[in-house]
Every structure is written in structure tokens, then in C-alpha cells.
């Protein structure tokens, strides 16, 4: 579903991402962990086609993000670490806007908005302007908007920040459901317990380079993901 080959992104002379390669298959929840400034967000933005990169290639469902950005965007959804949405729109107008842009049919959008908004207990607030939403409500709205066109690939940057425990649980269920239906998820997180419980595969990035990757069992063995992460951070310091 997502294949990153030798991705390199430079800011001036500094390499934010250096020769990074990884592959995510259908049905996989893939966690991406690393310290602040390790290159997670840069990698994620490059996958979404919103950041140009210097070397390498990214393929989504076999299509190159560089050559075919629009076709790639049609089947993926991106949720940023900070849900900056159009504050002058109401929640429902924002969702309808996103549905229009992705060409979601009237029947599907009505059904999905109802389903997801009920799930996140946001239905009653949909007429409110987004400017009146709390951080968590904006995050929920961003998640609903991301799911409205039934993406095959969901790319998320710190998706659990700002969510209450119930909403976080709902998101985890939706993530598993999307993968069970043949989709794939690539997300970054600092919450290692969540990654450990939720992910099928995990990659650890440091200084823009991938320092470990594999299934959760391969990566953590008999210890915890936290131990592995801290040990690797120490080794490479």
C-alpha cells in the first residue's frame, strides 16, 4: 500500500530524512516512532504529497507520489499533529466541503457523517463554528473528515493528542476496522504503550535514519517497546 524507497529530504545542508526505506502492506497498522526532530513529520508530509523531497521515491498503491500526486491523494487521508481547520466554517460545513472535494455521493456522506459523528459524540455540535470547538473536538472533526471518503491509506501524525480516553479508544477501533477491510495505516506517536498494543509493525527513526524496523515481536522481543526505544536512543547518542 505504501512503499518508501531511499527517501532523502534536506533543509539546506542538513538531512532531515536520510535514505529512509520502508514498506506497509494492506491490513497493517504501522507505527513510526522517534524523538522530537527525528524526521517523522517530514517523512509523513512527503508521503502525503505536501512536501517535496530531494531523493528517493514514494509509491502509494503502486503509484508514484511525485508522478501521480492527485491519484495518490484520492486514496489517502492525512491527519496532522495540530488540527488547524477552517474556523469560519461550522463543523458540518467543513465535513460537507471535504465530501464535495473528494466527490463523495450524497447518500454516502450523509450516512458516514451521521455514523462517525455519533461515534465521537459530536453530532449536536456540528452546527457550531469550528472556532468554538476545543482542541479535542477539532481533532475528532479532523478524524471524521479523514474517514469520510473511505481512504485506503490513513496517514496520521500524533493522532491521539488532545483526545479523551473514550475518543482515543474509538479511534483505535476505527483504525483496526479500516485495516481489517483491506486498508493500511501509517502513524507517528510518542505514546509507546499505544504503539505496542496497536501496531502490527513498527519503525524507529533517529536523525533522519531508520535504525530499526519490523513486526512488533521482532522489534521488542521479550522486553517492552519503551526499553528497546530507550536502549537504541542511548546506543546512537
Amino acid at each position: 500500500m505504501l512503499e518508501i524507497r531511499n527517501l532523502t529530504k534536506k533543509y539546506g545542508s542538513k538531512k532531515a530524512v536520510d535514505q529512509l526505506s520502508l514498506t506497509i502492506h494492506e491490513g497493517e497498522i504501522y507505527g513510526f516512532i522517534g524523538h522530537n526532530g527525528a524526521g517523522k513529520t517530514t517523512t509523513i508530509k512527503a508521503c502525503c504529497g505536501i512536501m517535496d523531497f530531494d531523493e528517493g521515491e514514494i509509491y502509494i498503491n503502486g503509484m508514484s507520489v511525485k508522478q501521480n500526486p492527485l491519484e495518490c491523494k484520492k486514496i489517502l487521508s492525512y491527519i496532522p499533529d495540530n488540527p488547524d481547520l477552517y474556523e469560519f466554517l461550522s463543523g458540518i460545513k467543513y465535513l460537507n466541503f471535504i465530501a464535495d472535494v473528494y466527490g463523495v455521493s450524497s447518500k454516502d456522506r450523509n450516512e458516514r457523517i451521521k455514523e462517525y459523528a455519533d461515534m465521537f459524540e459530536l453530532t449536536k455540535d456540528l452546527a457550531q463554528p469550528i472556532s468554538a470547538y476545543s482542541h479535542g473536538m477539532k481533532q475528532k472533526l479532523a478524524i471524521i473528515a479523514a474517514l469520510i471518503h473511505k481512504p485506503k491509506l490513513l496517514i496520521m501524525d500524533e493522532p491521539f493528542v488532545g483526545l479523551d480516553p473514550k475518543a482515543a479508544h474509538t479511534v483505535k477501533q476505527l483504525m483496526r476496522q479500516l485495516c481489517d477491510e483491506g486498508g493500511a495505516i501509517f502513524f507517528s506517536t510518542h505514546v509507546l504503550e499505544v504503539a505496542e498494543k496497536l501496531c502490527d509493525k513498527v519503525a524507529i527513526i533517529k536523525g533522519g535514519q531508520l535504525i530499526m524496523e519490523g513486526t512488533m515481536e521482532e522489534v521488542k522481543g521479550n522486553t517492552s517497546l519503551e526499553d528497546v526505544f530507550l536502549e537504541l536512543e542511548g546506543e546512537n547518542a
Partner: protein
């Protein structure tokens, strides 16, 4: 600590004007000179306007022995221009500033935070004030003798008048924030009130000289009224014109004491005011069938929602359309005058006057349309939301074209309405009607494309409020003055080169064709190189 707070506020103000937000570098010297010239031009024009008003008042008031009224009016004009110019800024800078909570979490006394913001606002008020007070002072010195005490009183008044303005704008800004947060359709209401105020302001400007004549004729009565009811203005005038130390002291007290009281009260309650949730009207969602639109239409409607939701955006970006609506209203209101002009024209030119009148209407509508700049800040306004556009499966060219559409949809109806009204007011001429229909449309389309292209070259995404983005963006200034310069080319050519050698109607058609070709060129640019530039933002 206070010094650091003031420094950071001034850095924010100047960086928003002189720094390229994308590259994080200062603009080049050429751009700074250009911006300086534009600012000097605006201040110069306003100064000349006020200078001419004071020129009309100076000697007549002196003859009536009402020299104090001259300065009292100067003070009142200053107060009005500072108050109108700063009230919304006061609201957003003091009570709704984005960094209030950040600063309040630091070991900084709230009184320092408040003072640093007030000093920045005071500086802005001084700029507004000097546009009125400098011409008032110069005109007075040119025609009448002055005393040393009068000069001192003038300088003290200039320094202290903005404190009085701040007192009022702090109170009104707080009231506006409080009331607007409790209204259901607050944006609509604020927009309507702002447009009505703007229309009133324009109506006063167009009748300014007749009002000034009335002012001079009725100076004694007006003087008595000011003396009785506007205490600080009276003493400001007396202090400067009559060198009255007592009046100067009274004015100083009027300016300083309320300011200190407001400052102390706000300081004590700043945490409460700045962090209070002022209680919004809760609107509960009722499920209904959602309308389906195309991607471009959805993007266009999104931009129009942003425009409709921000009164400052409407007032600053649709100025041409508002003026045009005012002109239409005035033409209907004063139809007798229009009819007599038509008759007079027929006397000189016969039926040929029909086409000339239509050509003039087309030119007026076109000139108004060039003042619309809806598209000029439209990319900058995406700000932190730019990621949404970047992740959508829509070609960049179409995103840019949706911004052109939003401009056209917002601005063309006023020109169309004008054309329809002309059908009733002017003798019919098919050629003239078509010209009046097409020329303003082309100018609006031109301005829509031009605004987007200028904003592509001068985007800035680090604005602190939409109002600042719309009012202070370099792309807005370039679109406005660049557009005016471009319209001035055909007008100047006709006046000084063609000199009537070519029929006016044919000449207007030729320029309409030129604009059409330029629009096609700009459309082509947006779909190709412009899209690539947008992708790199």
C-alpha cells in the same frame, strides 16, 4: 521586562510589514522603498485632504474670534479617525490576542502585558493623529500668528490626545467583544453595521465641502454647542489658540485621568478579561440532507464563507463594490440631476451623448471595480490551513481558479446591478449597454487574476489575525495600487496622447479587448507556472 514586552510587540508589528514570511528574511531594499513610497502617498493624500479642510476654516474662524474652535475641531477629527482606525485593533490586540495565555502563564505582571499592548496601539494612534494635526498646525502657522505657549499647548495636546482615544477604544473594544460574542449572527450584524458606517463615512466625504461651508457659516452656534457639550475639545482648542494654561491643565486631566483609571481597572481584571469565555450562543445541529457540489464550487464557496464571515475583509476588499452601490443609490436618489445632465448633453451633442454617457458609466464602474481586492490576500489567508488544500485531490490550478471565482462572484453583482439601473436612467444604446456590461466584468476578472498572482509572489502565512492579513499584506497594497496604475494607463493615454483623436467608445472597446487578452494570459499562467509556484509554498 516591560522593555522586552514592548520590543517583542514592535518586532511583531514590523516583521509583519517588512519580512517575507515564507523565506523568513527581510524584504530587499527595493521593496522597502516601494512600501515607503506607498505609505507616504497614502499619508500625503490624507494630509492634503485635511489640509484643504483646515484651509477653509482657518481665516473665517479667526474673523469670528473662534480660533479655539479650529483646534477643537482638529482634535475632534483626530479623535474620530484614531477611534475608527483602532477600535477593532484594540479588541483583537487587547482582549483576543493569541498570545495572551502564553504570556499570562509566565511570571510577567498582567499590567506589563497590558501596557506593552497599549503602547503599540498608541503608536498606531499617533500615526493616524499626525495625518490630521500636522496639516492643522501648518495651515494655522501659515496664516495666523502663534505664541510659544500656544506651540507648547499644541505639542502637549498632540502627545496626550491618543490617550483619550485609548480610553474610549478600550471600553468600546471590550463592549464590542462582549456583545458580539453573545449574538447568534454576529458576523452578519457586524458586517451590516460596518458597511452602514462606511457608507455614512463616504456620504460625509462626498458632501464634505458643503458641510464645511455650513460649519463656517454657523461657527458661532457650533462653537457654543462644542463649549457646552464637548468639554475636552473646548479646552484643547482654548489651550492652543488662546494660550490658556488653565485650559491646558484641564485638557491634560481629561486625557490622563480616565486613561489611568481604565488602565488600573483593566490591569486588575486583565486575567479575567483575557481568559474569559464570553459565552457563545450554542447552535444545536439538526440533521438534514447535505447539498452536493463540485470540488471547485466547494472551494469557491469556502472562500466566500471566509469573506462573508469577516466584516473587515468585506470593507477592505470590496471597497469598489460598496462605492459602486453608493453611486447607484445616489444616481437614483438624485435622478433629476442625472436627467438635467442628459438634457444638457443632448443640447451639445445630440443623440451621440447616449453612447458617451454609457461609456462614462462603464468607465466609472470599471474604476470602482479595480478597487476590489478580494483575491489579493486569499492565499495568505489560508495560513495554517494551507495543509488542507495541499492534501486535497484537486489540481493546484483549480484551487487558484476557485479563488478567482470567489472574487468575481463577490464583486460582479454590484457592477451588474449598476448596468441594470443604467438601463432605466440613461437613454438606451445597445453598444453602450454591452460596454457597461462587459468592461466592469473584465476589470473584475482582471483584478481577480491579478490579485491571486500577486499573492502567489508575496504570500505571508504568519499573520496574527485575519484583519492584519487583509489590511497590512504587501500583496493587498500591490493589487490595489498596481490595479489603479494599470487603469490609469488608458485614461492618461487618452487624455495626453490620443487627445480625443479616437472615438471614446471605440477606445474603451480596444482596452476591453486588451484586458480580455491579459486575463487569458493570467489564466494560462495560473494553470501552469502559477500552479507550480503554489505547490512550492
Amino acid at each position: 521586562m516591560l522593555k522586552s514586552l514592548i520590543k517583542i510587540r514592535f518586532m511583531a508589528m514590523f516583521s509583519s510589514m517588512f519580512r517575507n514570511s515564507k523565506k523568513g528574511k527581510s524584504y530587499g531594499i527595493g521593496m522597502k522603498i516601494f512600501m515607503g513610497i506607498v505609505f507616504a502617498y497614502i499619508l500625503g493624500v490624507m494630509g492634503m485632504l485635511f489640509g484643504s479642510i483646515f484651509y477653509m476654516m482657518c481665516e473665517p474662524f479667526d474673523a469670528l474670534g473662534l480660533n479655539w474652535l479650529y483646534f477643537a475641531l482638529a482634535g475632534m477629527f483626530s479623535f474620530a479617525i484614531c477611534f475608527v482606525g483602532s477600535i477593532f485593533m484594540t479588541q483583537s490586540q487587547l482582549y483576543e490576542a493569541k498570545d495572551n495565555e502564553l504570556l499570562l502563564a509566565m511570571p510577567v505582571p498582567p499590567s506589563y502585558i497590558l501596557l506593552s499592548r497599549m503602547i503599540a496601539l498608541l503608536l498606531m494612534n499617533y500615526l493616524y493623529e499626525l495625518v490630521v494635526m500636522i496639516p492643522a498646525g501648518i495651515v494655522y502657522v501659515m496664516f495666523l500668528p502663534v505664541t510659544a505657549m500656544g506651540v507648547i499647548a499644541f505639542l502637549v495636546s498632540v502627545v496626550l490626545l491618543p490617550f483619550l482615544v485609548m480610553t474610549f477604544s478600550c471600553i468600546f473594544g471590550w463592549l464590542v467583544a462582549l456583545i458580539s460574542s453573545r449574538m447568534r449572527r454576529k458576523n452578519l450584524i457586524v458586517t451590516i453595521i460596518s458597511v452602514v458606517l462606511f457608507c455614512g463615512y463616504m456620504a460625509v466625504c462626498t458632501q464634505l465641502y458643503s458641510y464645511m461651508e455650513a460649519l463656517v457659516e454657523n461657527g458661532v452656534q457650533i462653537g457654543e454647542a462644542v463649549q457646552k457639550s464637548i468639554f475636552p475639545a473646548y479646552h484643547l482648542g482654548k489651550a492652543i489658540a488662546d494660550s490658556s494654561v488653565g485650559s491646558l491643565l484641564l485638557f491634560v486631566l481629561c486625557a490622563v485621568v480616565p486613561f489611568v483609571i481604565v488602565y488600573v481597572v483593566l490591569s486588575k481584571n486583565f486575567i479575567h478579561i483575557a481568559t474569559a469565555k464570553r459565552g457563545t450562543v450554542r447552535i444545536e445541529y439538526k440533521e438534514k440532507q447535505l447539498k452536493v457540489s463540485s470540488g471547485v464550487k466547494a472551494l469557491t464557496m469556502k472562500d466566500l464563507s471566509r469573506l462573508g464571515g469577516n466584516p473587515m475583509y468585506i470593507l477592505n476588499a470590496c471597497t469598489g463594490s460598496i462605492l459602486l452601490l453608493l453611486a447607484i443609490g445616489a444616481a437614483i436618489w438624485k435622478y433629476d440631476d442625472v436627467a438635467s445632465i442628459i438634457e444638457m448633453g443632448k443640447g451639445y451633442m445630440g443623440d451621440e451623448v447616449n453612447e458617451v454617457l454609457w461609456a462614462l458609466a462603464a468607465s466609472l464602474f470599471g474604476a470602482c471595480s479595480i478597487m476590489n481586492i478580494v483575491s489579493a490576500p486569499s492565499i495568505s489567508l489560508e495560513g495554517k490551513n494551507l495543509w488542507i488544500l495541499k492534501t486535497l485531490p484537486i489540481p493546484s490550478g483549480k484551487i487558484l481558479i476557485s479563488k478567482v471565482w470567489a472574487h468575481v462572484i463577490a464583486c460582479v453583482p454590484a457592477a451588474l446591478l449598476g448596468t441594470i439601473v443604467c438601463l432605466f436612467l440613461l437613454p438606451f444604446s445597445l453598444k453602450g449597454f454591452l460596454m457597461t456590461l462587459i468592461l466592469p466584468l473584465l476589470v473584475n476578472i482582471w483584478q481577480a487574476f491579478f490579485g491571486v498572482i500577486v499573492n502567489l509572489f508575496f504570500p505571508r502565512f504568519d499573520w496574527v489575525s485575519e484583519t492584519a492579513c487583509v489590511k497590512q499584506g504587501i500583496s493587498v497594497m500591490i493589487a490595489m495600487f498596481g490595479g489603479m496604475a494599470i487603469v490609469a494607463i488608458p485614461i492618461l493615454l487618452y487624455m495626453f496622447v490620443i487627445k480625443g483623436a479616437l472615438d471614446l467608445v471605440i477606445y474603451v472597446w480596444i482596452w476591453a479587448a486588451v484586458f480580455a487578452v491579459l486575463c487569458i494570459g493570467m489564466w494560462r499562467y495560473l494553470m501552469t507556472a502559477g500552479s507550480r509556484r503554489f505547490d512550492r509554498l
